[in-house]
């Protein structure tokens, strides 16, 4: 269970998040939706203890990230970018993460197999394509077999096969009782994957509910999204 409660983040005079609250529940895939620069990544970074909130809280099973006893086995996270040094090999990258959490080397080979990187595991990460980098990020997230997954734009840069794999994989994880929170701006993709939708714009939550509730009378999630966006900007103007 992920609980975001009245989260505010300011950088200088700029307010990036202005008091957002939502939950991501076990057994469900929650889609976190919004245009570029709306505050998606900032929220996830605070949730993962990378950035500090100005006020409010982002809790994982009721605790802030830094107080988790074994973070890797509790939350698997894949943020945007590779999250790895370019000169290291993919296998070496996963090995130091495994070492830090006391996981075995065979677990590294397992996750390499799951994400389909076994063949290139001995290559330097600098030579990876965007899609391969995303797969490496997923491998790192899955290493500790966590109950919670936090993924930032997981399908970005993946090939069609990879996208389908992510979709079925995330559905399976949720159906076996895990919590999945993923951010995206690909509506069509989200509509096929998520149970719940949270929409953020200019650092504020503009919609929060099940997929059906958010779509409402509109024909698709995309329609609903644009309707909400124009409504929202109409209010602020």
């Amino acid at each position: 269970m992920l609980t975001i409660n009245n989260l505010v983040k300011r950088r200088g005079t700029q307010e990036i998040l202005s008091g957002i609250s939502f939950k991501a529940r076990p057994g469900r895939v929650t889609g976190f939706l919004g245009p570029n620069g709306a505050g998606k990544s900032s929220t996830l970074r605070i949730l993962l203890g990378l950035d500090r909130a100005t006020s409010g809280s982002a809790l994982i099973n009721g605790k802030p990230f830094a107080e988790l006893h074994n973070p890797l086995a509790t939350v698997g996270a894949a943020l945007d970018g590779f999250g790895a040094h370019r000169m290291r090999t993919g296998r070496a990258h996963l090995r130091w993460i495994a070492l830090a959490s006391g996981l075995s080397r065979s677990r590294v080979e397992e996750v390499l197999e799951i994400v389909g990187l076994t063949d290139v595991a001995g290559k330097r990460i600098g030579n990876y394509s965007l899609g391969m980098g995303r797969r490496l990020g997923m491998a790192a997230a899955l290493l500790g077999d966590p109950k919670i997954l936090v993924l930032d734009e997981p399908v970005n840069g993946l090939d069609p096969e990879g996208i389908r794999w992510i979709r079925t994989f995330l559905r399976e994880r949720a159906e076996s009782g895990n919590t999945v929170l993923l951010s995206s701006h690909l509506m069509g993709e989200l509509e096929e994957t998520v149970d719940d939708v949270v929409i953020i714009n200019h650092g504020k939550i503009v919609a929060d509910g099940t997929l059906e509730e958010v779509i409402g009378n509109h024909s698709t999630l995309e329609e609903a999204f644009f309707a909400l966006m124009s409504e929202n900007s109409g209010n602020t103007a």
């Binding site: 993962l48 203890g49 006893h69 973070p71 790895a84 130091w96 070492l99």
Partner: protein, 252 residues
């Protein structure tokens, strides 16, 4: 709790060591430093061969290349901390090990574990090559007299590496860290020595100099090796503490 946290230290230390060991740049730096040091030691020895003989001069000449040698260890320290910020690895590090102060301290420890043997080997190789080239002048070399300066040199290089790592962690970017450290060690400090002779012994590099250089009678107001170690250690600890405080406070 105490059992699990001591296990955590071992695990995280293992991970930090693995990070250092699997980074090719670290090995390239050490290898390059080793080779350059040998070349310089040979150059210094052939330049100094006309001079006096004996164990003392072998040591002096063998350790003369330390001035340049330290650059390799400065680079090593900077690489160890700044490499976290390449390709966003810091995000992976902090989502795996969110205890920041703890993580950075362990990194220093891992760096020291890698640096100490390497610093000893490289410093010793300089003295050894001086000895081989000068063995006609000194038939016996007193082991005792050699071990102490070598231990001092190892300590100096290790502390310099840790100091550089702390500055690297503070600045997070390789280029400014490198410019500031090399600028201090090679340009600012040698120039200021003439002006601030009263406090020059409290600079990290000049204080550290006394850790390995055998004292010569013609110099006044020198520090003992222990005093030198103390001063350099204080500098290193100050910068490590500042780096950890900032690391804990700021957004990654």
């Amino acid at each position: 709790m105490s059992v699990s946290s001591s296990r955590k230290i071992t695990l995280i230390l293992g991970a930090e060591l693995e990070k250092l060991v699997t980074l090719p740049l670290i090995w390239l730096t050490l290898l390059g430093t080793f080779i350059l040091n040998l070349v310089l030691a040979v150059a210094f020895t052939s330049a100094g061969l006309q001079g006096a003989a004996g164990t003392q001069s072998i040591l002096k000449i063998g350790l003369a290349s330390m001035v340049y040698l330290q650059a390799g260890f400065i680079i090593l320290g900077i690489l160890a901390t700044c490499s976290e910020y390449t390709g966003g690895q810091i995000r992976t590090t902090l989502t795996t090990i969110p205890w920041r102060g703890f993580q950075l301290s362990t990194k220093y420890l891992a760096l020291a574990i890698v640096t100490i043997p390497m610093a000893f080997i490289i410093a010793a190789s300089g003295v050894l090559s001086a000895f081989i080239m000068m063995r006609d002048t000194a038939l016996v070399i007193e082991i005792d007299a050699v071990i102490k300066p070598l231990a001092g040199a190892t300590g100096y290089l290790t502390l310099t590496t840790l100091l550089s790592a702390a500055i690297g962690a503070l600045l997070r970017r390789t280029t400014p860290a490198l410019v500031i450290l090399l600028g201090h060690y090679f340009i600012v400090s040698p120039l200021l020595r003439d002006f601030l002779s009263s406090i020059k012994n409290y600079f990290p590099d000049t204080a550290g100099y006394y850790m390995y250089m055998p004292p010569s009678s013609d110099e006044i107001n020198v520090l003992t090796p222990m005093q030198g170690t103390g001063v350099l250690m204080v500098w290193t600890l100050i910068f490590i503490t500042v780096a950890i405080v900032f690391y804990r406070k700021r957004d990654a």
